[in-house]
Symmetry: C2
Subunit: 819 residues, 2 copies
């Protein structure tokens, strides 16, 4: 490939513009203005990186005007500014509704300068005024302690995509245009980030974009040639390969290449206009005919040098068009007077004195920008909380599972909740979607298809009619890419809508880092007064560690909770509803909430049901509680606290209580269930935490606690290490012991089964003496038998499998005493 | 796209074979044999899923022959078997050295049946003999409690890729062929997994494959059309788009499509042979000329129905060629006598009585397989420990940083270690590589380029000569995809070589899930007696949370340690060397070790140096220790233990000791440093853990401990909650408090700075009374001043920044007493 001289030359970013779309839509006067606007923006970009004083270089540049530490990135700014600026022409010309997504890492100088020149910045931050004084503050705050970052952080007007971590620009962009039929998300994709997996997968998003009900993404792949220290892959393959790649992804690529500014203006202006018209044409065709289809959506491939318009070489070392232009382009200006001079000359070449005469750009230049909400930096879509409508919620109580006797009947917690979810979908057909990596049906949520099928813009086959549940216009989004699902959902929420991701628990680690980044976005947003709260990011985890009958060890990892629990308590919530009515109550709460990452963990299999809806509401509202129907302490000091968190663990804990009572009917056992994990942590460290008095009222401060936990056991210790009596808490949970197992056998392997828990309890009650030892031996033998039966027959013994809570009479007394 | 009828038809998997490569290399007799072999394999695949008795269906099939729970996946097995079997012909014909990588989820029936028919299975598991009895055991153990999984788990001969989590087949494959010039990795890629980000990115691996020194990957994209419940994207786009996509990725696609078995045999045989010859041609051209180049490597696109050869419909519901064939194809055979009959008829159609007459396949059929190590199921490359050679290690002591006075001079810990790494590279030019996502230079490891440059098979530009450090034959692998880097490294290690991944700490979460899966692979491998130990997976994390001057909040996440600490203690190790000599000692240890995931966390900036090489070796060997040169307890009971783990935290802790001594010169302070994190946990829970006696000898069981930790503080609590005196341990660490900060300012925000630590200590020593309060106020004021200076000037006050340990005399006494 490309070993001919000709091709090598053709992928250089230098020279007169070469473009797929021909045409010269700009007048000479236009070009002059765009030149000036470009220069003004570039000046601001360099100013942010270098200056804390002398913002318009009215004085000769000296080291005392410079920031002590030079931080920030210039490399991708010119290409981004160029794109932004020329798209503004089309916003005005066609009255477009558009947002700008800055994919390349550290692209903030580009979007900040745009927001400043458009006036948005001074509107939301009046102290950063459009004059010399404001400019100085604007420069100083950039990448400065106590100031703002060099990504498009939440503080950046118009941003829904920080770009701190790379790879999510395209999925965020598609998320933002779903159900926003008039929106165009102009999306710069860095050629660095284009190497990441999440980005490579997300190009396929067009196969889920309905041209009737959704808007459009206009991606601009920015081949500026270099990452931090390396060339980029896509900038070093032949034209043909690039073209094929995008045709293969389902796009029509339009090239704009070169570094000659004047001809590049024409090429970019013509190309962007052609693409906008293509988008409108496709949308019109689909909307007029009512027939959705998947066109070859346009993508622009912009090849311009990294650090474009900077010096090509300094001291015989390449700068412009090389990786040295990635960050601070000239680093030693504090020490080298020559280089300081060179920087000054470079900055002066952007003519700050002329362009910012009077401290701001001329009205003529300002007129190149759209006004009001049409400015990409001021589009309310990018401050999604402002346009967010609350969900029209069905009454979750209407979906209650009937529970006549606690722990006595099995119920389909998850597929029942799917009916509630179905009606959430039905009530909110344009602002709620369900996302999942090909697992919605497997996760027993298929009930939602009655209200909204799975979006599919690929080909249809005959057999799709046989329960395929595919549709051009659907409400469920399924692609086998957790990254793309999560990116879509984030984009959908950040642009003012609501959603839920469902996923197998073990593979949610695939998006650990994305969820981390979203948590950070939410946390930082709380500090930005003009940002309204967006809907919570809701993650439903099922196919849990404890029920991996088909899958075994690779599918056993409940550690996502550890990752989430590390994030700021202001933005994370974790719920483990023990049964179907609790699941309904928790989901209702999560869907109504704002600005959180809510993680709900619930098994998809049928389960014993414990609480009536009324009881469930009370229990979930408290988040933690004593279950008197399974307790024998009658409100007095217990001998033992049995606690559980998670549906499978709760089942085993209750069966353990039964075993204990068979042996020791006189035992005063208190049963505690935890729904809201952060109840365990001190209220000092998380707003949901119990205070120590509340804690002691539930757990005591001196009695043994045998706690059966869904996840890795250490998480409970990490949450409770400060608690009174923490030494007495014995936690069981998953410990990387697994294989292909029956449910009970897997529990036995990890000592979270009823027998182990009962033995744990006995070990902590030495006063049982010989009776304890005898009971222990019996339990151990029964456990061995159960295990052998699993190995022999491949299933758990039915009498254990079908266990229900056998006790009645006595417990009524306890309840009576308590209520 | 594809809205014409013609195109819709052309992407159906049914009908006579259609293929890019024409030709009929097989005789009629050949075809008959391959038919039989195919049937035998398919029979085994169904047998594994269904049968626990009656393995050859000699009796009429009844429910008691069935497993109680039907588990396993049939869908992708036929296409995989078909590919494997036809490649065997070429292995024999051309004496190829090849391994098979099974990408699709749950592909085990295909590879297990191959290993069984080739005889390998019975060689490594003699009890699974090649007769009826062995067959019964072979069937029963599959997806059965206590048995083996439905992925290509470590128990599977010939596997280096479990495929429990999807998306890594291609990167694993490339990893295995780097520096194995004669190896071909025949790699099935599921069309489900092809939707994942990691897989989408990894196609670009050819841009890093040198045809002279590396082998080849022959990918077979298996379009079997469906995932769990959905069609796959790539099976529902037009031929043209598919072709473009692979041309764009840099491959020459060869289609093989259809379901007519006879013509498909010819098509597959001809196509595989063409591809093998193409690969050899490219390799020969490069090797003969000595000029490496990047050809269009072949990729096969195999379109065959899911559950191929199964019933197309059952009860009017689609099975073959639909998602219902994904898992257990007929699920209700226990309950439905008709369906049981149908299953029997289906299984009998594979003619077990004829093909397994006498309990095993005929010699004629067996002759279709290669023999010995040429069998893909027996290739030693797939049991990498067997062929692994120990690294030829330079003596790390030779790279020692000179430390004349502890904590007095700054040294370049990381770039110095790079020199050691350079010589590791130089000494092991064919079995060690360094991997990183475009961060090697940024991480100050650029020194290695002197021994091995960065592999680059893309185009070269003029400016690459200016410090580009690119080469066709290099030892450093850089692509901006953590997933691809990690996948390459895993493949490289599992096939018997050594390596190191370097990455920014915050973004290592991107591969949390991959590392989890690798840990699980290693852990399970320990239970497989015939698997030899492979080299450890070494991960060097730098650009740490505490030095994010350019990047801010998005780049602050030290939580990877929490993810790793959840894995089995048998396979994970975490090191936080405090200085340059410790870093050398730790790296040497990690590179020599086997079967671990070693995580080393070290800042890349210059740091105070504490230990001479001799001291460092002792300290790192112990993993934890009292540092007498910074202690004033002279081996007696201390008033206070100051502990640290991590380089930046150690610096601040020592500065805190200095502050405390300025105020309270009489204080008996013990300074403890932790290098090996698992020293903190009980020896009962991790082989590196201290016992409680050792613990108390260091930390006491009653004195206040102020512990400054690199990561989230709760991890220390989770490791130490059982320890004597754990209530007295006060841990500081990162707490999601960040922005753009100077180093000291960030520490202050998180209370890990010297002032906060000193105040923490004072708060825990009430006997200091008023003196304590006065000192506290002074410290608080100084802290405020430092913070304000950062906000004002953008840098930390130099006198704080340049702090070194000021004390001499007194401490010699302490050391004398202790030694």
């Amino acid at each position: 490939m490309g070993d001919s001289k000709e091709e090598v030359e053709s992928i250089s970013p230098y020279g007169l513009a070469r473009s797929t779309v021909k045409g010269e839509p700009l007048s000479k006067d236009d070009i002059e203005k765009y030149n000036d606007f470009f220069k003004a923006s570039l000046y601001l970009s360099l100013g942010m990186i270098y200056l804390k004083k002398n913002p318009l270089l009215k004085e000769t540049l000296s080291t005392e005007h410079l920031k002590a530490r030079l931080l920030g990135h210039f490399g991708s700014a010119p290409g981004q500014i160029f794109t932004y600026m020329h798209f503004n022409r089309l916003i005005t010309k066609y009255d477009l509704d558009a947002i700008f997504i800055s994919g390349p890492g550290h692209g903030a100088p580009a979007v900040l300068s745009a927001a400043y020149l458009e006036g948005t910045y001074s509107e939301v931050y009046p102290e950063i005024s459009e004059d010399e004084e404001g400019l100085q503050k604007f420069f100083k705050q950039f990448s400065f302690p106590g100031g703002i970052g060099s990504h498009a952080t939440p503080e950046t007007p118009g941003s829904i995509h920080e770009g701190g971590e790379l790879g999510y620009s395209i999925s965020h962009a598609f998320g933002s245009v779903f159900d926003h039929p008039d929106l165009i998300a102009l999306t710069m994709v860095g050629d660095g980030e284009a190497e990441t997996g999440p980005l490579a997968a997300s190009w396929h998003s067009t196969k889920f974009l309905n041209p009737i009900t959704d808007g459009a993404v206009l991606p601009v792949l920015h081949l500026n040639g270099y990452k931090i220290n390396n060339p980029t892959l896509l900038a070093r393959i032949s034209h043909k390969e690039l073209e094929y790649l995008f045709l293969g992804y389902g796009y029509q690529p339009y090239f704009v290449e070169g570094d000659d500014v004047e001809t590049m203006h024409q090429a970019m202006a013509a190309t962007l206009e052609h693409c906008v018209l293509e988008i409108r044409k496709f949308q019109k065709k689909a909307r007029d005919s009512g027939v959705a289809f998947r066109p070859l959506w346009p993508v622009i491939i912009l090849r311009s040098p990294k650090g474009w318009t900077g010096p090509r070489k300094i001291d015989d070392k390449y700068l412009e068009g090389f990786w040295r232009a990635h960050q601070v382009p000239i680093t030693d200006v504090h020490k080298s007077p020559e280089h300081l001079k060179l920087l000054e000359k470079w900055m002066q070449s952007y003519e700050p004195d002329r362009l910012f005469a009077g401290g701001k750009i001329s009205d003529d230049l300002k007129a190149l920008c759209p006004t009001g909400n049409r400015r990409m930096s001021a589009n309310p879509v990018a401050n999604g909380g402002v346009i967010k409508k609350p969900l029209r919620m069905p009454n979750f109580r209407d979906y209650a599972l009937k529970v006549e006797r606690s722990a006595h009947t099995m119920g389909p917690s998850m597929s029942n909740m799917a009916l509630f979810l179905r009606d959430v979908v039905a009530n909110n057909m344009t602002n709620f979607r369900l996302f999942g990596p090909d697992e919605t049906e497997s996760n027993k949520l298929g009930g939602v298809y009655a209200a909204g099928k799975k979006v599919w813009m690929g080909e249809y086959f005959e057999e799709d009619k046989d329960g395929g549940n595919l549709a051009h216009a659907g409400r469920v989004m399924e692609i086998l890419s957790e990254h793309t699902c999560e990116g879509w959902l984030e984009g959908y929420i950040l642009s003012g809508r609501h959603g839920l991701l469902n996923s197998y628990e073990p593979f949610i680690h695939v998006i650990d880092s994305m969820v981390n980044q979203h948590c950070k976005w939410l946390e930082k947003s709380l500090e930005v007064p003009w940002r309204d709260k967006v809907a919570s990011l809701n993650i439903l985890l099922t196919a849990v560690v404890w029920r991996q009958d088909h899958n075994g060890f690779t599918h056993q990892d409940p550690g996502f909770l550890d990752v989430v629990a590390n994030k700021s308590p202001e933005v994370v919530r974790i719920y483990l509803p023990p049964d179907g009515n609790c699941l309904l109550s928790v989901m209702d709460h999560c869907l109504r909430s704002s600005n959180y990452v809510n993680v709900v963990v619930a098994d998809k299999q049928d389960h014993l049901q414990y609480l009536t809806m009324d009881e469930a509401i009370i229990h979930c509202t408290k988040g933690i509680g004593i279950w008197p129907q399974f307790s024998t302490d009658a409100g007095e000091e217990p001998d033992l606290v049995m606690a559980s968190c998670g549906d499978v663990p709760t089942h085993e804990s209750l069966a353990a209580v039964d075993l204990l009572l068979q042996h020791f009917p006189e035992l005063k056992i208190r049963f505690v269930n935890v729904v809201d994990l952060f109840k365990l942590i001190s209220h000092v460290d998380h707003p949901h935490g119990l205070n120590d008095q509340e804690w002691t009222a539930i757990f005591t401060d001196d009695k043994p606690v045998v706690f059966n936990f869904h996840s890795y056991p250490w998480l409970v210790h990490r949450l409770t290490y400060k608690r009174p009596g923490s030494k007495n808490i014995h936690v069981r949970g998953y410990k990387e012991k697994g294989n292909i197992d029956t449910p009970l056998e897997l529990a036995i392997r990890n000592q979270t089964d009823r027998f182990s828990l009962a033995m744990d309890a006995i070990d902590r009650m030495p006063h049982l003496h010989n009776r304890g030892a005898a009971a222990r031996e019996k339990l151990y033998n029964d456990q061995l038998k159960a295990r052998n039966e699993a190995f022999e027959h491949g299933v758990d013994p039915p009498f254990l499998n079908n266990w229900t809570w056998p006790h009645t009479g006595l417990w009524k007394q306890t309840i009576a005493k308590l209520t």
